[in-house]
């Protein structure tokens, strides 16, 4: 160990210094101070006043908006994330078969991921799913009844979910990269031993892809909990608060009412929820994620 210490190259610290400063000022300090603000009443005009656990008490017992936002967000995450990943995996598997023109298809499927978060696409979604919009025009041509995609409180959230699923391309690219990494000789060995294609798929492909499933699952989950643009631009939380995602609630409290203390408490509740879900996924991963190198990573 002492040998290692003597080998330190302190110039390395100099290179990472900008990041350390950025971490402290733009991430660590805000992180801690949002915890502090969450125990205060603060409107940005007068100084914050300490109110103890009042904000949290109010959130948990006396804020129907919070409960609605939590409910809507939970449904959104549970719906959008698995469907998106299933799509991504399914298409990646098809593309990984040695087909001609794979690059073309990969581009086509990836394009929505590039644009999906933009206001332009939210505008597009609003037009497509309006009552007399093109989607109803198409389903109508097939003889199906018109659906009020954005106006029906039972449906609007799923219409937003479709926007998220439409952007499955980035997860798909990760799955594709993972599939490429699986050594071909594993399949050859399996085939020599007489395993069927289905068998090879479930004993080689699926286990070796599980680390990427885990990574995608966590990243998509964290993002989905914080989804904002679509719900804000397309439906603005409506109809009847059926698309009132957590980020909208947070935005409203902080930047419409300037209740910074209360909003900070809300953001910490969300943080704790995300951490708990992440921890559960990680804990469960010991049962379903396969690490070829025994889990040492890198």
């Amino acid at each position: 160990m002492s040998l290692k210490k003597r080998n330190y190259q302190y110039v390395g610290l100099l290179y990472v210094l900008p990041w350390v400063v950025g971490l402290l000022v733009f991430q660590f300090y805000p992180f801690l101070s949002s915890f502090y603000y969450s125990f205060t009443d603060f409107n940005m005009v007068s100084a914050p006043t300490f109110v103890g656990l009042d904000n949290y008490k109010k959130i948990l017992t006396d804020d129907p908006g919070f409960l609605q936002a939590l409910k809507v967000t939970t449904i959104y995450v549970l719906m959008a994330v698995p469907v998106k990943l299933a799509f991504a995996l399914f298409i990646a598997l098809i593309l990984s078969a040695k087909l001609r023109g794979i690059n073309f298809f990969r581009t086509m499927y990836y394009l929505p991921s590039i644009l999906g978060g933009s206001v332009a696409i939210s505008v597009l979604w609003r037009f497509l799913f309006m009552k007399d919009g093109v989607v109803n025009g198409m389903t109508g041509a097939l003889g199906l009844p018109a659906v009020d995609w954005l106006g029906d409180p039972d449906i609007a959230l799923y219409t937003l979910g479709m926007l998220s699923v439409w952007q499955f391309g980035s997860s798909m690219v990760l799955f594709l990269a993972g599939l490429k990494q699986i050594p071909g000789d594993l399949y050859e060995a399996g085939a020599i031993d007489g395993a069927s294609k289905t068998r090879l798929f479930f004993t080689i492909t699926v286990p070796l892809l599980t680390p990427i499933v885990l990574f995608n699952l966590i990243m998509q989950m964290v993002n989905a909990f914080q989804e904002f643009t679509g719900a804000f631009v397309i439906t603005n939380g409506g109809p009847m608060k059926s698309t009132y995602l957590y980020a909208l609630k947070l935005y409203e409290e902080a930047f419409t009412f300037f209740k910074m203390g209360y909003a900070s408490a809300l953001s910490w509740v969300l943080f704790v929820i995300i951490m708990i879900v992440t921890a559960i996924i990680f804990k469960s991963s010991t049962y379903w994620v396969h690490y070829e190198d025994g889990g040492k990573g890198k």
């Binding site: 330190y8 206001v119 966590i218």
Partner: protein
């Protein structure tokens, strides 16, 4: 090849084409409809209309108020370009530090960086806003540009660290023998080899910042400084029923820079995202 196999392949192709078409159709509809009359935009399942107009672009571009999309575009470039450049420079330097040197606290710092990758933005957004307010940075582009100069996107730093690790250390050693110091090794030897990774970082950051809506709406309040996303939302809210095609036309225009970049630099996207994601 057996019949079953080629049948499978055919099935795959049919599926890929049908689904791919469904994926891209909304974008095609967007472009075509931006040339339609308002009456044709609604209530028709057909992609094509009887007649087309071209003034939607000129009218939408000019806007209705004092500021139009020319201003919003310029603003967005003024915001995005420095953000991208600072992100690249700071992330390269920091990644080099992490990838090539052993220094005290390195493991802890690296784990901290990976932790920030998972830190939800919503948790730090309010104090950041308060901080930038105190500094007098509200309604400027500094809340975007300054943090970028401090390598605050762990995603990019991590991507570059992975890339540096893939470059042989012998390069550094021989350059050292030739009299390079650590900084000239980075600039003269490693940087030219990093081009693909740097492109990836730049392209991703460009598109993410370009499309960003949440931070724009929080930090920028005067119409004069509006970015394209904010301008587009304003147009959407302000539009009377007569000018829907203008809204669509400006939606098309607003995604054009990202689409051009995407097609020009496609391979960097895929490379970038795969190097990072895989080792996560």
């Amino acid at each position: 090849m057996t019949d079953a196999r080629s049948g499978n392949k055919l099935l795959s192709y049919v599926l890929l084409v049908v689904l791919g078409f469904a994926m891209v159709y909304p974008l095609i509809w967007l472009v075509v409809s931006s040339f339609k009359t308002n009456a044709d935009i609604f209530g028709s399942s057909s992609l094509f209309a009887g007649s087309y107009v071209t003034d939607s672009y000129a009218k939408g571009w000019a806007g209705t108020g004092q500021y139009g999309f020319k201003d919003f575009f310029l603003n967005t470039f003024v915001l995005v370009v420095p953000t991208v450049i600072f992100t690249i420079v700071s992330s390269v330097v920091v990644a080099y530090g992490f990838a090539r040197f052993r220094f005290p606290l390195q493991t802890i710092l690296f784990s901290l960086m990976m932790a920030t990758l998972m830190l939800p933005d919503s948790t730090i957004m309010i104090p950041r806003y308060i901080l930038f307010n105190k500094m007098g940075w509200l309604d400027t582009y500094l809340p975007f540009i300054v943090p970028a100069a401090f390598a605050t996107s762990a995603f990019f730093v991590y991507m570059l660290i992975q890339f540096f690790r893939g470059l042989p250390r012998e390069l550094d050693e021989s350059a050292k023998i030739d009299g390079c110091n650590s900084f000239t090794i980075l600039i003269r030897i490693l940087l030219p080899l990093c081009k693909p990774a740097i492109f990836s970082v730049g392209i991703f950051q460009f598109i993410w910042t370009w499309n960003d809506f949440f931070n724009s709406i929080i930090y920028i309040s005067s119409v004069k400084k509006f970015t394209v996303s904010l301008g587009l939302r304003m147009t959407l809210d302000a539009s009377s029923a007569v000018s829907w095609n203008q809204v669509l036309a400006m939606s098309v225009v607003s995604i054009v820079p990202c689409i051009i970049l995407f097609f020009m630099a496609q391979k960097y996207f895929v490379e970038g995202i795969s190097t990072t994601g895989l080792k996560g």
